[in-house]
Symmetry: C2
Subunit: 189 residues, 2 copies
Amino acid sequence: MEKKQISAKPFMYPMPTMLIGANISGKPNFMTIAFCQMLCSSPPIFGLASMKTHYTNIGIKKNRTFSINIPSEEMVKVTDYCGLVSGHKVDKSKVFNIFYGNLGTAPMIQECPINMECKLVQILEFGNNEIFIGEIVGSYAEERYLTDGLPDIKKISPIIFSMDTSYWKVGGFLGKAYSVGKGFEPDKQ
Amino acid sequence: MEKKQISAKPFMYPMPTMLIGANISGKPNFMTIAFCQMLCSSPPIFGLASMKTHYTNIGIKKNRTFSINIPSEEMVKVTDYCGLVSGHKVDKSKVFNIFYGNLGTAPMIQECPINMECKLVQILEFGNNEIFIGEIVGSYAEERYLTDGLPDIKKISPIIFSMDTSYWKVGGFLGKAYSVGKGFEPDKQ
């Protein structure tokens, strides 16, 4: 079938669904984002894009710290809620149970399977977005989300975001990376 | 259950699985990456992290163009293969059927449901990684992957990457974004 040109939009599949936390005037606030990803393993560098008008940005710039919280599929309603209502208008500080790590100013969500606290290292700007680049200085999880000491994607059940503005579950296992392609012969495709 | 501190590594769930293309000495090459995401919708800005030693980086810097190709779950073996073998040692130019768009030097994979061609706008460095930031100038898809003219995640069947080095399918529908959280009442959680 023929390829057709479609509009040059961000057609990335899949995207993650994260709750980003920051303290503003001493109160935790959380926003829901999909435009984020790791940029480096060592040091562990993470980047996220947030519209300049977002309330959370104020706290990230003020404290130079933020948190990454990975919600599970059971948390889809509260995750969407945090993207629907702005901290400019609604106090979201009581929505979750909060804990703090080494940085002391990056509020993390007890209910989320995985939490990471970051110190801000750089800010970029594109269009209406600020890109916050942070170094992860602490990661947290309950034992029930780990297998052999490491986070397990099926135990976490993270939420996939699709550009048509819908949320999806993680499905079945496809194969081991750096393994399933061994023995693949391009000529015989 | 109590939160425990785990090592400060890139524990992002889910991650995407992309084939990034560039021409080196006039021949297309592709690498498999997970550290990539949109950074802005308007203009459409995309960022990807690639180890400095990767062969594809040479072409991205030389031509200042690259492509993003989203493989479907049926392509998991060839996708893993492109991450296992380096263009420094193996000619991957015949692995896929290739087409070019407006830029002329960003090779795109016919077999992938979604393709985007990018012009390089900025390079960052963290640890052993180069971060290539590009503006998407063209997006391509076959009609069979679209619903109402836009890419459909279930028709694309993209591959999820997990940090324990495994690939996963997209599963069931969880809800509409900017909708499922309406009416959520934090006090009653």
